[in-house]
């Protein structure tokens, strides 16, 4: 629990979470270690064996688009291979996570040794000016992991509910009434909250539970921008990027995907992050009292060098082998692969590097802790999750001219 007397917390009125898609920490931010050795990125000598046994080194040659096609596998069995290097519990009941199976996993999709090496690529910081700048100017998390070694939807469920209710896949699920979404909790206590999808054509990934049953929770990204401009931002906002290249529903042009999901152009996502940041940063009535978390839902099958740690089991939930696609059940007792996460606020110390372990259950845990206080009806994982607003710990707000500003190129 952070010190409530912190000036940044006393001023805090709004929290905004932007959840992007499918990129690992090392892929996006690993190059920052050369700028700040405290950031647990890449030394350059990390390797993975390919299918012929040849070690493949990480390479700062990631491209914005075209290298990760086909989309790298990130379903549960593939991530198990990526994390454990292909060693099964049958071979070694005490197997250790070694992060040695990424190239092998990518090879399985196209059977191309050369193409499989691309999974080791990462961006030099200069190619990602927005994410890199925010990570170095505000706070970057060295240990924010996806919640499950699996795909998007079960991981995003942790951000909404603090659990995936036993799911490790993309299947339709109905939430257990025992654990309400963070939006329901806030609403019932009289707090304002919204999920902002990009537009009606991209919509939300929370279809079956939230969009169907509580459509008034939702707004478009334009609604978010309008709310920022009119000082009507909810206390808690969750933003979803544009998931597809599509014609605008109102016939006003073509809209490019901004989610950074492979193989979408990463630059569109950089611009989108800048849009969100600018909407808050450029409003002097919003900037001092708003915290922005930028986080990725999962690693997308792309290499990261940090083994995910064990965690509090999410009992009573267990995914049986028929669900995991592996010989073993999963007790939700290990986190997924590490993802980029950056906390932005003028109350955060410049260049902060956070070493505590976080996962997506930390999002509802933080909102509940800050807005509601004691609240017991939560998953085991959420109750155990660390919260992040204590990093708004500066005695004085950072002067405006020391906060980065972004201008989009056309």
């Amino acid at each position: 629990m952070p010190d409530p007397k912190l000036p940044g917390l006393q001023q805090l009125q709004h929290v905004v979470v932007l959840m992007m898609e499918n990129r690992s920490f090392d892929h996006m931010l690993g190059g920052l270690k050369r700028i700040n050795p405290a950031i647990d990125g890449l030394d350059g000598d990390e390797t993975n064996p390919d299918s012929t046994g040849v070690p493949v080194s990480v390479s700062s040659t990631a491209e914005y688009q075209s290298q990760l096609d086909p989309d790298p596998d990130h379903h549960f069995p593939a991530v198990d291979l990526q994390i454990f290097g292909g060693v099964t519990t049958g071979q070694n009941p005490n197997r250790a996570a070694n992060m040695q199976g990424f190239v092998k996993s990518y090879f399985n999709q196209q059977r191309s040794v050369k193409h499989s090496h691309l999974i080791m690529n990462y961006f030099p910081p200069a190619k990602l000016p927005v994410l890199s700048k925010l990570a170095t100017e505000y706070a970057v998390f060295n240990r924010w992991f996806s919640s499950i070694p699996g795909p998007t939807l079960c991981n995003r469920a942790f951000a909404h509910y603090g659990t995936s209710f036993g799911q490790v896949s993309m299947d339709v699920f109905y939430w257990n009434k025992q654990f309400k979404s963070i939006y329901e909790r806030l609403n019932e206590a009289g707090h304002s909250t919204r999920l902002y999808y990009y537009d009606e054509a991209s919509s939300s990934l929370e279809v079956v539970n939230l969009l169907k049953n509580q459509p008034s929770l939702f707004g478009t990204f334009q609604d978010f921008l309008d709310a920022c401009g009119k000082n009507e931002l909810p206390e808690y906002s969750f933003i979803e990027p544009n998931y597809t290249d599509h014609d605008s529903p109102d016939g006003m042009g073509e809209l490019i995907a901004s989610d950074q999901h492979p193989d979408h152009d990463v630059r569109a996502g950089e611009q989108f992050i800048a849009d969100v940041y600018n909407a808050i940063r450029n409003n002097p009535k919003l900037w001092p009292n708003t915290a922005l978390l930028i986080v990725y839902d999962e690693h997308g099958g792309i290499y990261d060098h940090v083994p995910p740690p064990a965690c509090t089991p999410d009992s009573p939930f267990v995914a049986q082998p028929s669900a995991t696609g592996t010989p073993d059940p999963f007790y939700f007792d290990r986190l997924g692969v590490r993802v980029p996460a950056v906390l932005v606020s003028p109350w955060v110390a410049r260049g902060s590097v956070i070493n505590e372990v976080f996962e997506h259950a930390s999002i509802p845990a933080t909102m509940t802790d800050h807005f509601l206080g004691k609240y017991d009806q939560r998953s085991k994982r959420e109750l155990a999750a660390n919260t992040f607003l204590g990093y708004l710990d500066q005695a004085k707000i950072r002067p405006d001219d020391q906060c980065p500003a972004f201008k989009k190129g056309k």
């Binding site: 409530p4 795909p151 339709v172 537009d199 279809v207 509580q214 009507e232 809209l255 630059r267 972004f406």
Partner: protein, 121 residues
Amino acid sequence: MEVIHVPPPGKTAFHKGRPMSDLIKAQIRHFKHVEEKLSPEHREKIPQHRITTENEAAQYITAMTRLLRSGVGEKPAKPKLVPISAKKSAPRTPARGIAIAASEAPAKPRKKSKTKSTKKK
């Protein structure tokens, strides 16, 4: 601090004919799951075209999202929502466990988007 310029996507980056990813396929499955529970008159409003590309998915998702946002799938006993426009938060001490009373003011009507942030010509 100098202004940082953010490069735009490549001129050939936009590809609405791109086959759907597993993510979009899952999103479509979820919408189809919801669609199957709608009444016949509501289902008539949903286009039933072939969906293989991102843009085809977007067309279907638009129709379903508009329908759901109109309240068609909503449960009768919906939770009480606090209109954002009614909130006038003062800087507050983060005291815990005190609920703010919900406003009785009517919900703000939804506005139509006028501009897009990542538009390509």
